[in-house]
Homo-oligomer: 363 residues x 2
Amino acid sequence: MSEMKPGRSFVSAQQVAELAGVSRSAVSRTFTDGASVSETTRKKVLEAAEQLGYHVNHLARSLIHEDSGIVCLIGADLNTPYHSRLLDAITRRLQAINRVAMVINTSGDSDSAEAALRQTLNYRANATVVLSGTPPASLINTCINSGQHVILINRDDHLDGPESITVDNTVAAREAFHMLHRAGCRRIAVVSSQAGTPSLVARERGFEQAAQEAGLAVSITRAGPTGYGAGFEAGRLLLSGSDRPDAAFCVTDLLACGFMDAARVEFGMNVPADLCVVGFDDIEQASWASYQLTTFRQPIAQIAEHITTLLDSDNSAVHNGPDVHNGPDVVSGSGGVSGSGGVSGSRICFHAAPVWRRTVRPK
Amino acid sequence: MSEMKPGRSFVSAQQVAELAGVSRSAVSRTFTDGASVSETTRKKVLEAAEQLGYHVNHLARSLIHEDSGIVCLIGADLNTPYHSRLLDAITRRLQAINRVAMVINTSGDSDSAEAALRQTLNYRANATVVLSGTPPASLINTCINSGQHVILINRDDHLDGPESITVDNTVAAREAFHMLHRAGCRRIAVVSSQAGTPSLVARERGFEQAAQEAGLAVSITRAGPTGYGAGFEAGRLLLSGSDRPDAAFCVTDLLACGFMDAARVEFGMNVPADLCVVGFDDIEQASWASYQLTTFRQPIAQIAEHITTLLDSDNSAVHNGPDVHNGPDVVSGSGGVSGSGGVSGSRICFHAAPVWRRTVRPK
DNA sequence: GCAAGCGTTGCACAAATGTGCAACGCCCTG
DNA sequence: CAGGGCGTTGCACATTTGTGCAACGCTTGC
């Protein structure tokens, strides 16, 4: 079956029409939902298409429709557990609503976020989801003015135009402090990185603030990039001093894993007997038996699902199930108008729920 | 700056031309490398484009050229450390040669590999890279006949048409056996999964074969999907029996991590004193202090680079550096003709180098 | 000063598709 | 049997871009 000529090029609707003995319009209508074609010609067309290996050219199709079906995902450090899970979840949800993901990796250069947004515009993407990096505001406005959705994930820099999905880092970080404080910890270290991402800064600040309100001072260590190695290094630095901390809040699970390993391997410490640790993100490794890390869960599935609801909001012709996606976890979903000139995009903020495991002593 | 009308749609070259007072051809030529435009009109066009927020429509552009610039990456379990690293490396390399990656996630349905290949054709992708799953051969042929590259990664099922990049799983697995055998291990277990991926099967077989030649019998345990949980479960099963194995070859690092944790946490065993472990892939966690896993390194960077050289092979106009990409690691790069009707795609097989860490006793 | 040459510009057509409109044929009804 | 109506079909035009070809103008050399 499926005997096709060695054409060495893509098959066009014209060729199918000629083989089937109909007009090109008939071919087009055969592959258009709801178009008027008789059953006999439809059959002829489908047979010819199968024989030639024809597939509708979505690029040409999107010249006419507004909808290209492409959604651009822009991010760096895609090999990170958190980012890769997010990527996995988003791509899966996008396909469920007949979109396809275009991934632009902005690791490397600093100005690659700008190039990424340009690609988004070049390919007439339906929407742009920014997972990391901060593109210039003027380009974001160009995207929005072109009719794109621009969705910022976990970038708390309160820009005016784009839609944004965040996690309540500050509240969670405050909760982290109280978990450790209630467990009796008094010399608490904050382990962060030099990345300076808005979310990380918010976690540092939230924790620091809660500590201050309780009359405690905390030290912040930023040993390198956000990862296992930096956490390990931070552990080495902090635990070799004379007055060891009795707890650490690591703004990322990867940092926490590195920190824990340094404590155990390099200093023979016992977690949580000698040292309590709290992380953030709830990556898969946090639940591994070697770590059993108490942490805060990023609601990745809900984030991915909310993205799809944002995309569906302008495509009125949707036949989905009832909208029961986000229940009591939504902290704030105000989509009101603000600012001077432009209408602000909708904002939603999910709650990061604590996940109790074994790196914090029970009170 | 960048004052633009609230057009709510993408800007076309026509609008730029009208604003700049030139013909649309001039706009097109301004954004085409090597086209003949005077400096004055180029300036007028660029200014108008900046003002309107114009970006060339790559979809329309690829209607004329053969080259869409899109490369489809098809894979499942993208949140896995191995796959996410591969994805990260490939997307980065693709951007370096001015391609953009379209990611299709085939987790979930079983027949989604077929749908993925259809998407590839729909979007006139320049090439299709299959990271996992086995698409039907007829569709692969359609892709090839349409002028696409089809590149299979680590799928040792010797298909005829597509290009393939593999790692020499069999040789590495045999080496794994000899590492353990030389370390004095005699009751060796093989820990695998129920996935039945070609690479995993090759690793099982290679190890089993080497053991047989040495006069040893090995047991193969397949506790579930390829992941930490299945490794942990396998450890629980294997180590609770009366005659515990003294070594385990886990066909994946994730399985190895789970297995090690079961041995240590559930049974209080010491690695490598009581039990030697060898993994495969060299994921990041293998180098963490808690594991220090002896494993085999997948040459991810070289795989990604080889993909780009395959893509450049037909685009003769390339101005890259000298081709010094794959040195002595290449095992077999025969691209000869074989089979009856079709020309077989090029095949390359990289060597997976052993990475000695601390989970195997030194002899 | 005139003609040749060259750089630049615009027209028209190409690429692959969707769709409004008119026409055509068939069926049913009066 | 004729006419109206309806489903189907093809033509032509729309989408956005690149490019060959011809024309135009400016410069330069004789």
